[in-house]
Symmetry: C2
DNA sequence: CGTGCCAGGTGCCCT
DNA sequence: AGGGCACTTGGCACG
């Protein structure tokens, strides 16, 4: 907790009182926009107008506004994870003055969208220097689950060979395709890191139907691997004679259970959630 | 731009130097958590550990952290619209000390998730009082498009009568259902405010197939109304003999074009995008 | 409260 | 740049 003093290099408070007119302030703020790693933070009493894919107006209220050097605009209120208004990276922001009020306009080429903010009052302006941490590990996402399956093999049929990954079809991309040549079976695998709903089953279904038309004679089995499943989705799984595997069981199996147990489970469409 | 002084009521800078030990600072910050409308803002050099549905570790770097009174946690870096780590509303946050570092733990009951932040250095701490603006108009969303269709009628068949809205099926909810009794036609309408992809067509397809099985004898026609459409989606539309209507044309038609033109378009699966 | 689904989704990766 | 899709999706509305 040592170097508090050096910290001042990384957060500069813009003393609003110093600027006797808005022009100076406006120019200063415009200078900070797009400065490498410089984030402008404004807490104030502001009105917001957004026009684009949708449109909105928000009357004057106390809000927190941030502008990042990549052109991101964020406006937050007292609640909620998402900003009430925003502009994604790549938008072009600039400060101006209108009717003796500080004004911010952020435009986005794509979608022809813009956010305009009018500041009736400013409570705090700061400029922070932030990092972009390159190394940021994430584990447990779908990618990792797919990788795990690839490395450990298809639990329901260890003799099946992986023949494809991210297979493109007109209906979308199939996560994994396995084939057991002896039994003449093709497994179409769809992986969901989240709880599966009806949409996930139907996504699998359209892959299976497509492959049935393009892989003549082969036995096609749809396999949904997900982190739980909804009741309606289970009904569809049974209707289509698909197989559902819970990720939780996948992990347990990998560590403790024997493969024979799996094969038994799979043959009766184990639906343990 | 008058009341700058009063603005100080809405943004309080926590002078880090005053607090001779971390204990005092920790207690102060904990007092501000969940204070009505009080948002804690910390710019500092911090390390983040997240464990939950996924998991991640981010080494020490300069970041901006916010805690909202509803239990929202946001941690931003220099780029991107989304925070690098967060906790949605409803999580429980508290400051502590570990290894002579300030430490923040935010837990979320649901999903058993937690974010832990270690602060090696603090550059700025502020407490802002923000509003929750109740009145926030949004126009142009799908809901409004559906309403517009309901009020102006189905453009491709003005004689069709609306018989259902948000019809639940095992495959999901159908946006709109129209019936023309004279021609014995049922229209299944799916509306997308955005550009339609293959998923949208397949969503419509599963509704149509379901209704074909549950509405014996009737002619079922799938209608996709969207803001543009991708090439692959067009192919599927043609494959399934569906009808695509561009929202843009919907609006134009409503204002300028005559209905006869529509009917002609629809009969040839107008795909103007 | 779970289920389903839209969103100004955003971000990522691939063609 | 466009398309397809996952996401700690978040958020809402409905049964």
């Amino acid at each position: 907790m040592g170097c508090r003093e050096s910290g001042e290099d990384y957060y500069k408070i813009v003393n609003i009182h110093i600027y006797k007119n808005l022009d100076e302030l406006k120019d200063l703020l415009n200078k900070y926009i797009y400065h490498k790693d410089h984030i402008i933070i404004i807490v104030g009493y502001m009105k917001i107008i957004y026009r684009g894919r949708a449109s909105s107006e928000a009357d004057y209220a106390r809000r927190l506004l941030m502008i990042k050097p990549d052109g991101t605009l964020l406006i937050h209120e007292a609640r909620g994870r998402d900003p009430v208004n925003w502009q994604p990276p790549g938008s072009i922001c600039s400060f101006g003055i209108e009717n003796q009020e500080l004004k911010l306009r952020c435009q986005r080429q794509q979608y022809n969208e813009e956010v305009i903010v009018y500041f009736k009052d400013l409570f705090h302006i700061g400029v922070a220097i932030l990092d972009v941490s390159n190394f940021f590990e994430v584990k447990g996402v779908e990618r990792d689950i797919v990788d795990q399956i690839i490395s450990t093999g298809l639990p329901i049929d260890r003799n099946a060979k992986l023949v494809g990954k991210e297979i493109s079809t007109p209906h979308g991309k199939i996560d994994l395709v396995y084939i057991n040549n002896e039994r003449n079976i093709m497994y179409i695998i769809e992986v969901k890191n989240e709880k599966a709903g009806v949409a996930a089953v139907d996504q699998l279904r359209r892959y299976v139907e497509y492959m049935k038309q393009h892989s003549r004679g082969r036995n096609i089995i749809g396999v949904l691997i997900a982190n739980g499943i909804s009741d309606e989705a289970i009904k569809l799984i049974l209707t289509y004679d698909f197989i559902f595997l819970n990720i939780r069981n996948l992990r347990i199996i990998k560590r403790e259970r024997k493969l024979d147990t799996y094969l038994k489970d799979s043959s009766v469409n184990s639906l343990s959630s």
